[in-house]
Amino acid sequence: MTATDTGPRLRHARGDIPFALINYAGFLLFALVCGYPFYYLIINSVSANDISALGDVRLWPVGLHLSNYEQILGLPGLTGSMLVSIARTVIGTGTTVLASAFLGFMFTQERLKNRSLWYRFIIFTMYFNAGLIPVYITIHTLGLTNNFWVYILPAIVQPFNIILVKTYVESLPQSLQEAAEIDGAGIVTIFFRIILPNMTPILATVAIFSAVAQWNSFQDTLLYVTDQKLYPLQYTLYTYLNQANSLAQAAQNAQGDLGSIASAATSQTPTSIRMTVAVIVVLPIIFVYPLFQRYFVKGIMLGAVKG
């Protein structure tokens, strides 16, 4: 070992520097490819509408204004859709978190007879389903089409979440529960008073996964809902994509009715409508995601352990 070579960590191979450069450049490029579209939507939604419609807003906002957001909120059905999205996210997340916590805990309890049979009964559905159409027919027969609860009920029991919670509960010290049992606590008391408060990290993971899934869900509306009052934001965005032209006209007319002369910069174009609604849909994700990233990572790692 020479004097300059102070330890194994500092040993450099030939080609290290070019490799690092290419590596950084490659990741920078891919990160831009992933991040720029979001930035593009945002700057276009706050730029002068006549310029953004030409596709000329690329690097920073041109003719900054926020009136798109005011006008978009007046579009038919949008506030309703927001409420549907929020309601299904809150109720859907709440019920699935509680159900996962409870079932994950129960499947660690030896007092539950045939627990491994029931556990498999649930886990099997992760790998096998009857198929799109048979499920559709069942939901239709149950009268759940055009019903808000079609967003909630089928999503309550999630096998993957139950695996996560069960693995977690198994890692908790047994003594917690034993002490409570000696004091004569019943199973429900033990769950709510002892286990539930100790499960917060894993429940945060389950909550964030299911909140994102509920917020993003589109297919259940496509299959089971034709009533516009029950459209969540994702679906409304999809319909806007197809009817942006007529909506832009409607928004312009509405402005005309108010007696104000719509300037080219603020009157709605198909582009401005699409971009603004897209930003409204994506913003919660962009804000929430970095805050909860570690929970996502923890979740997928725990899931991987289970394989």
Partner: protein, 292 residues
């Protein structure tokens, strides 16, 4: 004890097992308005229709080709997240690593509708790419990226990678963090350089995770999901974008035959189950533990 979990078991039964009863509609000419009782029993008619007419067979052939092409392209690129993780692990600056991780996993958390919205604003005839190319004088006529039947499979693969690559790498990054550091230290003392460490330690240590995921993706070869293909489908690319899941939807809910779609649903579920059991048996033999 059993009674407090019963409501949840009932939910699972109703939404996951009860639909199996729906398989009988494969043998009826099912009309939702009439119910099963009012619909006519037709025996194996739908199965015969499926294989009898030339055009039908040709269509199914195309659908299967699309389905398998998308699955195999996915499998062929399944090592990319491994390389992504290994290379990102070589980045020394922690802030850069974190920033890359956050930005590249973000697309995984938006819906396919939004992905399509992004595709539309970037690649439609009046989108960013076309206007930019036009302003630079490279093209005079807008290029059609979306309304075309050219390279549909590759475009779909590209969007899947855009959405999923960063997230797919996270699991491997976690696995890398869990590798015993003494392995690297002793290899370094033996004079191994960075590339040798990657080649002879990191890569082999990631293989068990990779193989499990690979086996699962082989078992899922018929399940591409339909959302991605549904939002990207249009009159131009329909022939090459229709994967099995989308085809079942198109036949059953926008076409007119719930029964024919049930036949397809049912066959798909059965084949998938067989594939999964086979994959599981192989995994069991190869590594001694099952994957499901």
């Amino acid at each position: 004890m059993f009674f407090i979990v019963l409501p949840f078991l009932l939910l699972v039964f109703v939404f996951s097992y009860l639909p199996l009863l729906g398989w009988v509609t494969a043998f009826y000419d099912y009309k939702p308005a009439l119910g099963l009782g009012g619909s006519e029993f037709v025996g194996w008619m739908w199965f015969e229709i499926l294989v009898s007419s030339e055009t039908q067979l040709k269509q199914i052939g195309q659908v299967m080709a699309n389905t398998l092409a998308m699955s195999f392209l996915g499998i062929a690129t399944s090592l990319l997240p491994v390389f992504f993780a290994m290379l990102l692990n070589e980045v020394r600056a922690k802030w850069f690593r974190n920033a890359v991780q956050t930005l590249t996993t973000l697309p995984n958390f938006i819906s396919w509708v939004l992905v399509y919205m992004i595709a539309f604003s970037l690649f439609s005839t009046s989108g960013l790419v076309n206007t930019t190319l036009h302003d630079w004088g490279l093209i005079t006529v807008p290029m059609k990226f979306l309304d075309t039947d050219q390279h549909v499979w590759l475009t779909m693969l590209a969007w899947s990678l855009w959405k999923g690559l960063g997230w797919g790498a996270i699991m491997y990054l976690a696995a890398i963090a869990g590798i015993d550091q003494s392995l690297y230290e002793s290899a370094r003392i033996d004079g191994a350089n960075r590339f040798q460490l990657m080649r002879y330690i990191t890569f082999p240590m990631l293989m068990p995770t990779y193989v499990v995921l690979l086996v699962l993706s082989i078992a899922n070869i018929l399940n591409n999901g339909m959302e991605q293909y549904y939002v990207f489908q249009n009159a131009f690319n329909r022939e090459h974008i229709q994967v099995l899941d989308l085809y079942v939807y198109n036949v059953g809910l926008t076409g007119n035959s719930l029964s024919l779609a049930t036949v397809l649903s049912m066959l798909k579920s059965l084949v998938s189950l067989a594939l999964l059991l086979a994959a599981n048996a192989i995994a069991k033999r190869a590594r001694g533990s099952s994957i499901i």
